[in-house]
Symmetry: C2
Subunit: 793 residues, 2 copies
């Protein structure tokens, strides 16, 4: 069954110890699901010993206990640096049982002690209000992967081993999870791994055959197809299949020895010879029954080996005495008296199977990455400043400027190998081409003549899968490193749900004192909604921000720097920060530059502010506030202000620019929120505010609805109008252009009288002229293309 | 190169015609990218003939033109019913060129006539403001798949062929797209296809080797691995590899004959013998150079066969005369004078290669699915009504009731086979088990003893991939059928981006008179945020609604029925509707029933209304409005009202329930929006409104910020607090529970005085009691579990 010549022998005695360890973990798992008392079954089981609400999942648990016990043996024997990723959902009972058995659980939670009293608490807390969930949740030591949402285990595992040459991640992939898209493409991660400078992932595809109520695809194709699939993905599969425990122990022990042997041999070869060409890494296919060792039948229906074992197999002991009897038989089938001493502690000869100290998978520092976090070395972002010869001078594209800053971050941290850039083939397209001056795209598939910036090692990872980019980066961050995900704004929605889960992970871990803070997850969304000139409607969606701000205020930050110097300041801040999700939206096309570096740093530190030089207010309140957030809205707002000041010189205008979107929220809602008095000082208590916003306009209303002056805030933003057209026409289609903004202001300012109405008429003429011009010429009018900021009043 | 014994011969003459057709399409493609005039090159090319803004994508185009020409020959020869799905992004020039050549384009757009004048317009409109995008956009006849966002071509194709036994979808899969997760798992769709009752998908994996700036993975693994991968996915690959046009024509023609032969033989066998066991369907791997036939070098850098050909190879003819020269040479290399007559019409002997009438891929009715749409036969939803013995009587779980209604829709439409249910293994979990009384899960992988509800044909498709469910359903709807996607609320975020694209597709097609309306995309989100008792925090996310309401108001509808009778009424409405996206959020757990069928139908028709029987107002305005939206918020609101009415009998309370969320928006913003006077009549102009909401609370503010009484609307909803706990405790953690709602009301009603304060103190005690009780018992207090509605005042 095992396809190898280099098999090793594991003694029968060791196999018996593994079996005992497995039984102990199974016992503790069933105990978690069922017992509120009588944890050692010192007396016959009574209904009072059983939890009133039976919640939890058994199906995947015995298989994961089996794997964990075998990994313990292998780690100890080979002194491996290994962590465990539990891909199948609902593996909670297994990882909790095992970290408890190895001692790492009680070290973190001393009240869950390794004795009868602690075991009782261990059982009671599981799936209990105020207790712990049934996944490999953040509360569980050794976990970097929750498993609540399926599909990301392999991506997280690869993220963990990049730049960790000694680390092996044992990644259990559920056969349900394997049907998801993200997992199906994650097998290709092996084309991005360097065997010399990265660690290894050992995938263990766990074919227990069923999901919630269905068989799984990979369990229902024949052996030949499954083997071809894994080989086609570039892996060497080792099959372990069956259900007889002792035969399976022998097969699994041998499979692991073969796999570890192959990993070591691949790594040794690459590291000694420098030959880093892509190896065929080993992986294990473990086919074992769902709900293995659980009840064979429940109420006359087959349970072990079917989807009926997915949750709680015997679900109604209160009403059905037969269930209670079966639960007791099931628990006693593990012969707990052989495994645990009378105080409930695992017998030493069994406990010795597991490694000790930080080699325990529940105590490995890589699984609590903040412990390993080293601050990034950062150049002074001010050194990359754009010279502002005059307000509004044309830059080279804001992200291109930041690209040089990031290039030097790459360079400065080359030694520690703890910074990476991820993107779906868009790092150049997003304007970060400068990084390729100092590094390459890491790529381990074939390289041919004429390829550019591809190499076996490099700081940039590009695969056309936003899921992979996100999953790799999350794994990289969770193991204590730093990184950046650059992505088209519209398509970052592809990872909405992954973002949700990571934000939830950060929220929960921030409340666990033993979890050290990790580096922030930084998104750079260049190629944004307003500049999809050649891509059109499908590439226009600024709604990721709406998804982000739904998450806990302590975790999420959103920045929309208006120019290159502001972007530098913001990126510097984000890359230094910890335990946030930072979303930065910035442009890549040549666009006006407004603030000197000093002004930008000050403006970004405040996150919001009045641009005195753009407005013309005196000491009293202005007549109108022109607010803007985002690079394109800032341009259109300043162009509108320029028109207003020229044509209505008596009007006093205040210009407010927003970089840190969270400043708009009340302080009670977000730590960055402005106090009401500060907000009122900026936006006035009663003047009209014409607000040009980068994203969907109602997001501003959602953030400001409690503010004094909210009824006077009028927001323009993207409203799902667009196609392939000119950059300026995109703003026209969404009423965000300078002409509309001027008209909006006049509509709110009846006191502008006849002059206002004449200016409005002029604006309408301009819009007609614009439409005619682009229809004839396919580009914007010269007065738009060549526009320069001036404040003539 | 072709792996088959049954090869056929295509005459050399035919191959030459195919080549001519291909050259014509290539000529028209390059023309679209470059030319504003001189479409037939009747004079030497001048810079004035070239567009000022050069936008578009060449890289994928010649390969797709190659495929389309070969498909034309095959369709005509075999009288195939075939449509074309363009998976690679930016195949716009190819599909536009080909539908123009075959005549379907000019039939829809008569001004783009098949002559020199029309050709000039065809060229000018491409990637031009007000023109057409560079994808296979909705504007292009024959398209059901835009391709702007990558990854869904195969899923759409399979959706199209379910229940269309005569249809073949030729699906071009880009090798960039093939890296995405959704595409990587979509290959497994063959495990769900019935060769007798469904049609066939012929995937053509187009390995042109490059993405935007990178090679692709599948082009850089060796032949053996690629073949293993495709075989592992269950396909039989046929390889066509090379770059010499005439050799490639011969190979491709033969490959298609083999593939079509295999498809027909598989279908014939299944249909004649009844053996529907899973066949190995054929697929084609076409390896050809990116930018094939384009310039070999540009500015000294290799272009054809590299990623440099991705967009516009010669990008600056205005400044670089050499570019202009090369453009002309490139265009003339296709020898247009051999292909087009002097009026610009394709010569008849070449045009004859293509099929005619509805066999043309641009005219096939399946690609304009509304043409084939047949109304669903619907039973009377009132027949499934829940008897309301008294207000608040406990139901069996709302979706379980609707399950029977849907079961009978399945039954009634069995004959026409135009209704399907899609879900990621959750149809039973979401409460729709009744459908398995009359149908099965369609499944074509192995079936073994003890399997339940699996069969080669069935109306339910379940794969653990939300992407697949969504993609299949979209393909099914786009080809003129009906369906339902049932999904856990939290995990529907996985398809946020697919929803975005489908909503955009619906918006654009609704503006094209020749595009017939299709059935709505219906989501049933059961297993919602408030009832994740055993799944916890990762399964709690009601934010899909925020994503949905960002899209065009004409397209999106959101319903939150409070009980089973309302759910029946809503589902009836949604399944009859066209060209919307309907999102329905409903519960599956036993919960109180409020409205008789008659009341429910009336309430849902209005979408919002006062529940007189719950409040106690007299003719004048009430003291407070207690509003609710969603089943759990409605329960907690009514429980709060019950407490308020008992303890503060002098208080007059109005209860408003919202089913149709869009009613909250102003009429100007959404067609369902209430007028301001109607809104004021419900919510008053100045009374406090305590609003209990299903999702994130700020969504209500976003919808109502323009309303008269907005400042008095106080919303409770999910605020990212939760874990494994009791159902009621979930509401407590988010301040949405009855006790908090009572306290909220009292806080806003100082006139309740000492009695109010005493009630508030009582509520605080209740919360303490609740916390203590669940900590001790792991379940809710009896007074919560056994609560029954009563209005004692």
């Amino acid at each position: 069954m095992i396809e190898t010549l280099e098999s090793t022998q594991v003694s029968h005695e060791t196999l018996r110890t593994i079996d005992a360890y497995w039984r102990a973990a199974n016992y503790l798992s069933v105990g978690q699901i069922y017992l509120s008392d009588n944890p050692l079954l010192k007396r016959p089981l009574r209904i009072e010993d059983v939890k009133k609400m039976l919640l939890g999942h058994w199906g995947t648990t015995p298989g994961q206990n089996f794997i964990y016990a075998h990994l313990n043996r292998t780690i100890k024997q080979n002194d491996l640096n290994m962590i465990y990723v539990s891909g199948p959902g609902h593996g909670g009972p297994a990882v909790v049982a095992n970290t408890y058995l190895e001692g790492s659980y009680s070290e973190i939670y001393p009240h869950i002690s390794q004795d009868e009293a602690g075991m009782r608490k261990l059982f009671v807390q599981f799936s209990f209000p105020g207790g712990i969930p049934s996944h490999a949740s953040p509360e569980c030591p050794g976990s970097i992967h929750e498993g609540g949402e399926l599909g990301y285990s392999l991506s997280h595992s690869f993220g963990a081993v990049f730049d960790n040459p000694d680390l092996i991640v044992a990644c259990v992939v559920g056969d349900g999870e394997a049907e998801t898209g993200p997992l199906a493409t994650a097998w290709h991660s092996n084309k991005f791994l360097n065997p010399a400078t990265d660690g290894a992932v050992l995938p263990i595809l766990h074919l227990n055959g069923f999901k919630i109520a269905n068989p799984t695809i990979l369990a229902r194709i024949n052996h030949e197809e499954l083997e071809q699939l894994m080989r086609g993905y570039g892996w060497t599969p080792i099959f372990v299949e069956g259900k007889d425990p002792m035969k399976m122990h022998a097969a699994m022990a041998e499979a692991l020895d073969v796999a570890i042997g192959q990993i070591r041999s691949i790594q040794q070869n690459a590291r000694e010879t420098g030959d880093t060409s892509r190896p065929r890494w080993p992986m294990i296919v473990l086919r074992s029954p769902k709900g293995w060792t659980g009840p064979k039948f429940v109420d006359g229906v087959r349970n072990e080996g079917t989807f009926h074992s997915h949750q709680v197999p015997l679900s109604d002991p209160a009403k059905c005495p037969e269930h209670l009897k079966q639960i007791e038989q099931w628990l006693r089938s593990y012969r707990p008296e052989e495994l645990l001493d009378e105080n409930g502690r695992l017998r030493q000869e069994i406990a010795d199977l597991a490694p000790t100290g930080d080699r325990r998978m529940g105590a490995n520092p890589h699984a609590n990455g903040g412990r390993l976090l080293r601050r990034l070395k950062m150049p002074d972002f001010r050194d990359y400043a754009v010279e502002i010869s005059q307000r509004g001078c044309r830059g080279i594209g804001d992200t291109h400027v930041t690209g040089k800053f990031i290039r030097d971050i790459v360079r400065l941290n080359e030694e520690h190998k703890n910074f990476r850039i991820f993107g779906p083939d868009e790092t150049i397209s997003n304007g970060l081409e400068a990084v390729f001056d100092v590094t390459q795209r890491q790529w381990n598939a074939a390289i041919v003549e004429d390829d550019e910036s591809l190499a076996p090692t490099g700081r940039v990872l590009e695969m056309l899968s936003e899921h992979q980019c996100e999953g790799w980066l999350e794994g990289y961050l969770l193991t204590g490193r730093h990184g950046l995900f650059n992505c088209y704004e519209a398509f970052v929605h592809i990872v909405d749900s992954m973002f949700n889960q990571h934000a939830k992970w950060l929220k929960v871990t921030s409340e666990l004192p033993w979890r050290h803070k990790i580096a922030s997850l930084n998104y750079l969304l260049a190629s944004h909604v307003w500049r999809q000139d050649h891509n059109g409607f499908t590439h226009q969606d600024p709604g990721f921000l709406d998804v982000v701000v739904n998450k806990k205020a302590e975790i999420v930050r959103v920045y929309l720097p208006p120019d290159a110097n502001c972007l530098l300041s913001v990126m510097d801040h984000c890359l230094r920060s910890q335990h946030y999700v930072n979303v930065v939206v910035a442009g890549k096309h040549p666009s006006p530059q407004w603030l000197t570096m000093g002004e930008a740093a000050e403006h970004c530190a405040k996150g919001i502010g009045i641009w005195d030089w753009a407005g013309n207010e005196s000491s009293s309140d202005p007549d109108v506030v022109m607010a803007c957030c985002g690079d394109v809205p800032t341009l259109e707002t300043l162009a509108a202000v320029s028109i207003l000041r020229e044509h209505l010189p008596d009007l006093t205008i205040r210009v407010v620019n927003v970089v840190d979107l969270m400043r708009l929220q009340p302080k009670s809602e977000h730590p960055h929120g402005l106090s009401d008095s500060d907000f009122d000082a900026l936006f006035t208590k009663n003047k009209h505010v014409i607000f040009a916003f980068h994203a969907y306009p109602w997001l501003v209303h959602r953030l400001t609805y409690r503010r004094t002056n909210h009824a006077n805030i009028h927001v323009r933003g993207y409203k799902e109008e667009g196609t392939i057209t000119t950059p300026f026409d995109m703003t026209v289609l969404n009423d965000l252009d300078r002409f509309h903004l001027v008209m909006d202001a006049i509509d709110r300012l009846p006191e502008t009288g006849g002059r206002g109405q004449r200016l409005k008429a002029l604006m309408q003429e301009k819009l007609v002229e614009h439409r005619r011009y682009i229809n004839e010429n396919g580009q914007d009018m010269p007065e738009i293309r060549d526009w320069e900021w001036s404040a003539r009043s």
